[in-house]
């Protein structure tokens, strides 16, 4: 608008040569010849196929011609100019030859006068140039003509929304129904064209050649957000942009509400075929599928795999999804090595971290059913921890130690077990094992994650030595025949797939054997992933296994050990050893006994 204002209206007293339209036409051809940034990019990209980049254009010239011969003169001028410029362009990097050009001459004349120029449909003037002439009266007739041309040039179609209830300006409590005509890409009508079922407004006031499809406004009942099956969405513009009905409709939509549109039918059921909705200040016409789908009446998900399981952690996964929502990062970010960081890759990376240990059902987990673990579980999955995070994790662990000392009950699932389920100290052992699995899955994230594990390992309880011995003594006799089966049972209950967890089990193999009696009570309870070797148990338990307050020595040596272990790659055998004894040919068992899981592998490294 500002540019138009700068040009101003032609001065009737000026030299007619100066305000000849010819200058404009020449400038238009020159502009068409100039290579655009996009064309340049495409040309450089395609190299030897550069000739595939096209350069076609259209010149729309609104003028007042004196006669048909004047029009011919204008056409000749364009023809001539294109010819000359194409010659120039052939030897230039900044210019491109015009391959095709459409000249649309619109002759406009004052209302009340007779046109001196006749209309002419599109005609080939040369291989490059086609031309058409439209003769039209000034004022609203010109606007209507441009509206028609714009539809042709940009493949648009028109939809009239009818029955829009709108408050009257004068009488705010009454409302009348209005129509608003919209323009949009013609693909939004593709279903009508296919079925030959056009609800033509027909008697459009605007002229005989204009077609518009009429759709009825359906007053939205609720603000309920639904996911419609939509096959296309096209931007719209009202034909009469700021008229009251138009702006009433657009403001309604821009305020975030959607309107369903219905095909007007004399009889039969209501068919909703379109929806108007704005997305961030842009209004789109959504094409909704009204044809019936082959996906009707599918089996319910509860009839398929996993459909009979009833204790999925739906709420927890909902929380997980909310934490893993996406948000746009418009400014480029760079990694430490200077390469561009792709936000979407970061999102995948986060999902990977957050799912390293994520039991799907409630009866598979203890720690995620405990409010007390939340502070640790929510931060441990992070890429890096702050000092405060570490402190919180440690507090969580101390809190758990405290709970154990007080013998607080744990939310251990008793699903599938008969009787009361495992004893309290066994429950804590399961809980600690699981917590360790979670933390271990993240120790490679950072040094601070390591510290959380150190704290956990230092604090987690071991059954007191004496009690252990006592139990063992009592059980030694029936251990030989029972332990194997018992350990087998043990696993089902946990159904931990992770070899990480396995390791935890093996590590505590001693206790397990000792406690096999407890598990014996519940014969249908689960089975371990591996058959555990019957290790002859060392009578003197290692220092770290002592219960109660941890000695300064063990804290110190733990610290030194971990510090040292970080300096070299730990021998795989030692890493997985049980009481410093490494089991050989583990993979044989894995192949026989269970499916190896990638998860465990990944987090073990």
């Amino acid at each position: 608008m500002a540019a138009l204002a700068a040009v101003g209206p032609p001065n009737p007293r000026a030299d007619p040569e100066c305000c000849s339209i010819l200058h404009g036409l020449v400038a238009a051809v020159e502009t068409l010849c100039k290579i655009t940034e996009y064309q340049h990019e495409a040309r450089t990209l395609l190299m030897e196929n550069a000739e595939r980049v096209g350069n076609r254009g259209r010149i729309i010239c609104i003028t007042n011609a004196k006669s048909d011969s004047h029009v011919r003169m204008l056409e000749d001028c364009v023809q001539e100019t294109i010819h000359e410029h194409n010659k120039l362009a052939a030897n230039s990097d900044h210019l491109m030859q015009i391959q095709r050009c459409e000249l649309v001459l619109i002759h406009t004349y004052p209302v009340g006068e007779d046109s001196l120029v006749s209309d002419r449909p599109k005609k080939e003037l040369s291989a490059v140039l086609t031309s058409e002439v439209h003769s039209v009266r000034a004022g609203r007739h010109l606007a209507t003509k441009l509206n028609t041309l714009v539809q042709q040039h940009f493949d648009l179609a028109s939809t009239t929304i009818t029955n829009i209830p709108m408050k009257e300006e004068q009488h705010a409590n009454t409302s009348a129904n209005y129509d608003v005509e919209l323009l949009h890409h013609k693909d939004a009508h593709v279903d009508f064209l296919k079925s030959g079922d056009t609800h033509l407004g027909g008697s459009s006031r605007e002229g005989p050649f204009k077609e518009t499809v009429t759709l009825k406004w359906c007053t939205p009942r609720t603000n309920h957000i639904e996911l419609h099956y939509c096959t296309g969405a096209y931007r719209i513009s009202p034909v009469d942009v700021n008229s009251r009905p138009s702006s009433c409709l657009t403001n309604f939509l821009l305020n975030g509400r959607s309107v369903l549109l219905e095909q007007p039918r004399k009889s039969g059921s209501k068919v909703i075929s379109h929806m108007l909705s704005s997305h961030g200040g842009e209004i789109f016409l959504h094409v909704l599928s009204s044809s019936r789908s082959i996906l009707e009446d599918p089996p319910s998900i509860s009839e398929g795999c996993g459909g009979r399981v009833t204790d999925y952690r739906i709420t927890d996964f909902g929380e997980f999804m909310r934490e893993n929502r996406l948000t746009p990062f418009l400014d480029p970010r760079y990694k430490i090595d200077g390469s561009l960081e792709v936000p979407l890759e970061r999102a995948k990376d986060q999902l990977e971290k957050h799912t390293r240990y994520w039991p799907m059902i409630i009866s598979q987990t203890t720690i995620f059913n405990m409010q007390a673990v939340v502070p640790l579980a929510s931060v441990i999955v992070k890429e890096s921890l702050t000092e405060e995070d570490v402190l919180n994790c440690q507090k969580t662990i101390y809190n758990l130690v405290d709970m154990e000392r007080k013998n607080d009950p744990l939310p251990i699932s008793t699903v599938g077990t008969r009787g009361k389920g495992p004893k309290r100290d066994e429950q804590y052992r399961i809980m600690w094992n699981e917590l360790e699995t979670l933390v271990r899955a993240h120790i490679n994230n950072s040094e601070k994650h390591q510290r959380v594990l150190e704290c956990l390992m230092a604090c987690r309880s071991k059954p007191p030595e004496e009690e252990e011995r006592k139990k063992r003594g009592r059980k030694r006799e029936d251990k030989e025949d029972k332990s194997e089966k018992a350990v087998k049972d043990y696993e089902q209950e946990k159904s931990w797939q992770d070899s990480e967890r396995l390791k935890g089990i093996l590590e505590r193999g001693k206790e397990e054997l000792a406690e096999s009696e407890i598990i014996k009570d519940s014969p249908d309870s689960p089975e371990p992933p591996n058959k555990k070797p019957l290790v002859e148990i060392d009578e003197t338990p290692p220092v770290e296994k002592s219960k109660g307050p941890v000695s300064l020595l063990s804290l110190w040596s733990n610290r030194i050990n971990t510090a040292n272990s970080r300096k070299h790659q730990e021998f795989a055998g030692r890493l997985n050893s049980v009481n410093n004894r490494a089991e050989l040919y583990q993979h044989l068992k894995e192949e026989n006994g269970m499916e190896t899981t990638e998860n465990g592998k990944a987090s073990r490294q």
């Binding site: 500002a2 138009l4 204002a5 040009v7 101003g8 209206p9 395609l46 509206n147 296919k194 639904e226 996911l227 939509c230 096959t231 009469d240 942009v241 700021n242 138009s246 959607s258 929806m275 909705s277 997305h279 961030g280 200040g281 209004i283 019936r292 789908s293 996906l295 009707e296 009446d297 089996p299 998900i301 398929g304 795999c305 996993g306 009979r308 399981v309 999925y312 739906i314 996964f317 909902g318 999804m321 909310r322 934490e323 893993n324 929502r325 996406l326 948000t327 746009p328 990062f329 979407l344 970061r346 999102a347 995948k348 999902l351 990977e352 799912t355 390293r356 994520w358 799907m360 992070k382």
Partner: protein, 482 residues
């Protein structure tokens, strides 16, 4: 895609097939054998496919109808390639194809997207000895090249019919198996109906794009934010149980029903990620964004068929870096934890979506449009209405005045400015005695300014210049408002 099987039952189909040392078969029997194989395959691996059966000779009869109408179809035509003679025969129809009128249109191409597969109970040599093959090929051509002709390799026998139908099954009825992944959580799934390869129109060398068999979830978005996006197609995502060899349980054609049921029951009791995902998506009202290939994404969501039944559904977006303008570029979507503050707000009360477009649309701003006389009229009336309520409406009066002035200057409609100036002067003379004295001052001032602008030459005619209210002794209070 639903399938219509069209079976030729004309007399020529009863021609015997010469087989050494076995009972006599007719071509019809071979066809029935092949179709049985096709239906059995569907029953085990393509359970959700809808089929209908039509038989024809010179007349046709719908044996098993569809219960619904569909917008896409696969047609399997089974024939021996004996095309008949005289009026109404294929040969005659094709020869007179050009003479048909709109009302008497040839059925091909079908008025809906379709694939036409022709299964010939004859071998290639036999068909080539007449013009049958040419005619059948023309049928495919008429269906815009959508479809294929299958012939029997070698002598006509059960084995070769089987291998021919095997080829059709491989082409059109292979179930699409994939792995749905969300980090370490995974599930084996069947995607139904099969996602068809998508050809991107605008590319210089169109290569059909096929979706990955690893469907990787990249993150989640609220349903309100994704807001009914346009999609290419929709597919059910059905969790499947694979046996140790990696085959779907129950691929064998002669599957014992009881075995299958017990296998299904066991599979039902094993926790499956699809069910967990579906449940949470449904409860939270969210969708999962899933990567289908390079620069190709889709969404997973819970689709409710009725109150009781719902399922995990996947919709494919159009391939490209930015399928939905209101989400922006897909690659630029990242985890909220990377943002300085949670873009969804601490109380989950805001959203980073939709993205605002760079330019405001004409309907979202206050542009002046005078394509109809009423538009101009309304704008002038607005000024006059406010003029009568001066000085209370000083601000609105000048706002509207400036809007009209700018538009008039841009359109070169200088006469309008003169006209409006005259009207304002007239309003001034019509002011009632009770009017605030400021009103007269402002009207005269405004009229003078418009007149200056209408000369088109002075600095007052500059487009960026704004007419400001006259500072008067009375306007002390109104200056605050400005």
């Amino acid at each position: 895609m639903p399938t219509v099987v069209v079976m030729d039952v004309s007399l020529s189909m009863t021609r015997p097939v010469s087989l050494e040392g076995s009972e006599e078969y007719q071509r019809k029997h071979l066809a029935a054998h092949g179709l049985t194989m096709l239906f059995e395959h569907m029953a085990t691996n393509y359970k959700l496919e809808f089929t209908a059966l039509v038989v024809f000779s010179s007349l046709w009869e719908l044996m098993v109808p569809f219960t619904r109408d569909y917008n896409t179809l696969q047609v399997v035509l089974v024939t021996d390639g004996c095309l008949g003679i005289g009026r109404g025969s294929l040969r005659h129809s094709l020869a007179t194809h050009n003479q048909r009128s709109e009302s008497n249109r040839f059925p091909l191409p079908f008025p809906f997207p379709s694939k036409l597969y022709i299964m010939c109970m004859a071998n290639l040599e036999e068909l080539q000895s007449t013009d049958s093959l040419d005619c059948l090929e023309r049928l495919i051509d008429l269906n815009n090249g959508e479809g294929q002709i299958f012939t029997i390799d070698g002598p006509l026998c059960l084995k070769n019919v089987q291998s021919m139908f095997g080829k059709l099954i491989d082409l059109a009825y292979t179930p699409f198996h994939a792995i749905l992944k969300c980090g370490h959580l995974t599930a084996d799934v069947q995607v139904f109906p099969r996602p068809e390869p998508f050809v991107v129109d605008e590319e210089i060398d169109p290569i059909p794009k096929v979706i990955n068999t690893d469907l990787e979830i990249v993150g989640f978005i609220d349903i309100a934010d994704i807001s009914s996006p346009p999609v290419l197609s929709r597919h059910l995502v059905l969790p499947i149980a694979l046996n140790k060899e990696g085959d779907e349980v129950g691929t064998g054609i002669t599957d014992d029903n009881e075995d299958e049921n017990s296998a299904n029951q066991i599979a039902g009791k094993i926790p499956n990620f699809c069910v967990l995902l579906h449940g949470s998506l449904k409860v939270e009202g969210m969708v999962a964004i899933v990567q289908l290939g390079p620069e190709w994404h889709g969404m997973l969501y819970s689709q409710a068929d009725s109150k009781k039944k719902s399922n995990l559904m996947m919709s494919l977006f159009e391939p490209g870096p930015e399928p939905l303008p209101w989400l922006g570029k897909m690659a630029q979507l990242g985890p909220i934890s990377d943002a300085k503050e949670n873009p969804y707000g601490e109380d989950d009360n805001k959203s980073p979506f939709p993205l605002q477009p760079k330019n405001k649309r004409s309907y979202a701003q206050n542009v002046t449009v005078w394509i109809k006389p009423s538009g101009l009229q309304t704008d002038v009336q607005k000024i006059l209405r406010n003029a009568r309520k001066l000085p209370e409406k000083t601000q609105t009066f000048y706002k509207e005045l400036n809007r009209l002035r700018k538009a008039a200057l841009a359109f070169g409609f200088l006469d309008l400015l003169k006209g409006v100036a005259d009207m304002l002067e007239r309003e001034c003379t019509l002011l009632p005695d009770t009017a605030h004295p400021d009103a007269a001052f402002q009207l005269t001032h405004a009229a003078k300014q418009l007149k200056l602008a209408s000369t088109g030459a002075s600095e007052y005619a500059a487009y960026d210049h704004n007419v400001t209210p006259l500072q008067t002794d009375f306007s002390g209070s109104s200056t605050e408002r400005l």
